[in-house]
């Protein structure tokens, strides 16, 4: 091989590598990105059982039930629709009734959302951004101007 050919083959290898990396990245984005829904969105969106999504809304008042062990059942609502969620594990410190929450997981065949992670709002001034936007879009929650 001449020097020129060598250089070309090195460049070609580099480009092939970058192409493969790009392909992998976009494949992964298509496969692994999880969409965010509010309960009312689920009537229009088609979410298959087993498809990973994030479900956000408010923890509906009076729906938190502790089952045996560390399993908790509660409903997530956007005040229009609500969805029953099952979760096994330790709830975040800020998990309370009528507070914003984001759960991530999949729908079981019985229509109950089985969450493997639950995020609550992080502090007093902060509602999960998606939940706030979603509620605002539904006209349920109004942004308040402080001072």
């Amino acid at each position: 091989m001449t020097r020129r050919q060598k250089r070309l083959s090195v460049i070609a290898a580099g480009l092939a590598f970058l192409g493969a990396a790009t392909g992998l990245t976009f494949y992964a984005l298509g496969q692994k990105a999880s969409y965010f829904y509010m309960p009312a969105d689920l009537t229009t969106a088609s979410v298959q059982p087993g498809q990973r999504i994030r479900l956000g809304g408010l923890v509906e008042k009076g729906t938190i039930q502790r089952r045996q062990g560390a399993t908790v059942a509660f409903s997530v609502t956007d005040t229009q629709k609500s969805v029953k969620v099952m979760y096994t594990g330790i709830l975040p410190d800020l998990f309370r009734e009528e507070q914003g929450v984001i759960t991530e997981g999949t729908f079981g065949p019985d229509g109950v959302f089985v969450a493997d992670s639950v995020l609550a709002k992080h502090d007093e001034n902060y509602m999960p951004k998606e939940v706030a936007d979603g509620l605002k879009a539904k006209g349920v929650w109004q942004e308040s101007k402080s001072e």
Partner: protein, 372 residues
């Protein structure tokens, strides 16, 4: 004054940092090529060290040495050194502009942003002030600091609770009374105070919780005027005006002549008399309305509420005003407007503020929720 001295010294120092190098003696700068040469020399000596240590093979070292030598040869030593010109017009111009810019920008900007007359106020200094010079707030803060350190000082809570009440910090008053009761035991005054705090925290509504406290106070001291007064008030609020009137009249007959409660009871009686006429209306707003026709009265009340609304738009930081407005709308049967007023009130203080919580609790006590 001290601040201005410090600011002047700082400005002077900063200006000198700009001025001195500009005014300084002429210094010739080295050409970049000289620096490169030094680096290459150092690389050569490093190469020798590595070769001596056996880190690289002699052939590689030779090759690398030749490469560095080629770099040295390529150096363009003809590059002129930077000019060490004497003070030219440009230099003077730039120097003047730069030196002037420092005080002008800083003083101009600071004038916009700063509060030069405001001294530091560390907490310890504020707490160390002579109590006589302190504001009530500061005295309270001192008491709070004391109680935070000694949370089981029941007497401290007992002293602080009525002060909270007077400062209209009702929820703090509730907590303080509860602590005092827990630590120093029940007393009629404490239970009555607790009831008053609970009622005021809810915007004057005597809730079941407040009633419990007042009843506990009466059990300890059947003659406690505060408890009797508020219990009657609760009756009036429930619409049992005749019973309330009877209770107040009974108080008038038993209270001593110099009791401070007489005035309050008399006022409450006259208001409840009015209320009997304008049933369901907030008593203090309808004094003049009692002699009007129902339509006129309705119009007048609405005008009054509208003016309160307007006043709150002008001066929104009035927690009592907002609660009054919300209650007025509820009483007028305008739930939507009440909800709107509640929302605006919460917006003024921020959804996480103490006031907002109070509003929400108050609204809930009126059977109103923010979102429906």
């Amino acid at each position: 004054m001290l601040f201005w001295v410090i600011a002047a010294i700082l400005t002077l120092g900063a200006s000198l940092a700009v001025l001195l190098p500009l005014a300084g003696g002429s210094k010739g700068a080295s050409a970049a090529g000289d620096h490169d040469l030094e680096v290459y020399r150092d690389q050569l000596s490093e190469l020798d060290r590595d070769a001596a240590r056996g880190l690289i093979q002699p052939a590689e070292a030779e090759e690398a040495r030749a490469e560095i030598a080629r770099r040295i040869l390529r150096l363009d030593n003809a590059e002129p050194a930077a000019k060490a010109a004497g003070p030219s017009t440009t230099t003077r111009l730039v120097a003047t502009a730069a030196v002037l810019a420092v005080p002008l920008i800083s003083w101009g900007f600071y004038g916009e942003l700063g509060s030069p007359d405001l001294p530091s106020q560390p907490l310890s200094a504020r707490l160390a002030k002579n109590p006589a010079d302190s504001s009530v707030d500061e005295l309270v803060a001192r008491a709070e600091a004391h109680l935070a350190a000694n949370p089981s000082d029941g007497r401290g809570w007992d002293v602080l609770a009525p002060i909270y009440l007077r400062l209209q910090r009702f929820s703090d008053a509730v907590a303080a009374y509860r602590n005092a009761i827990r630590l120093d035991g029940d007393s009629a005054a404490r239970q009555a105070g607790l009831g008053e705090a609970i009622a005021n925290a809810a915007g004057g509504i005597v809730s079941a919780e407040a009633q419990d406290a007042f009843e506990a106070a009466l059990k300890l001291d059947p003659a406690n005027p505060k408890a009797s007064f508020y219990l009657a008030m609760g009756l009036a609020q429930e619409g049992r005006v005749p019973e309330a009137t009877a209770a107040w009249q009974k108080m008038l007959s038993t209270l001593p002549q110099d009791s401070p409660w007489r005035g309050a009871v008399e006022q409450a009686l006259s208001e409840s008399a009015n209320k009997a006429v304008a049933a369901g209306q907030p008593a203090n707003e309808v004094d003049a309305a009692s002699s009007m026709s129902p339509q006129d009265r309705q119009a007048m009340i609405e005008a009054m509420v509208a003016s309160l609304d307007e006043k709150l738009r002008q001066d929104p930081r009035n927690a009592e005003g907002w609660m009054q407005l919300v209650r007025s709308y509820v009483v007028l049967g305008k739930a939507d407007q009440a909800r709107d007023a509640l929302g605006r009130g919460i917006a003024v203080f921020g959804p996480d503020s103490e006031e907002a919580r109070k509003f929400t609790a108050f609204a809930a006590s009126l059977g109103l929720t923010a979102t429906e």
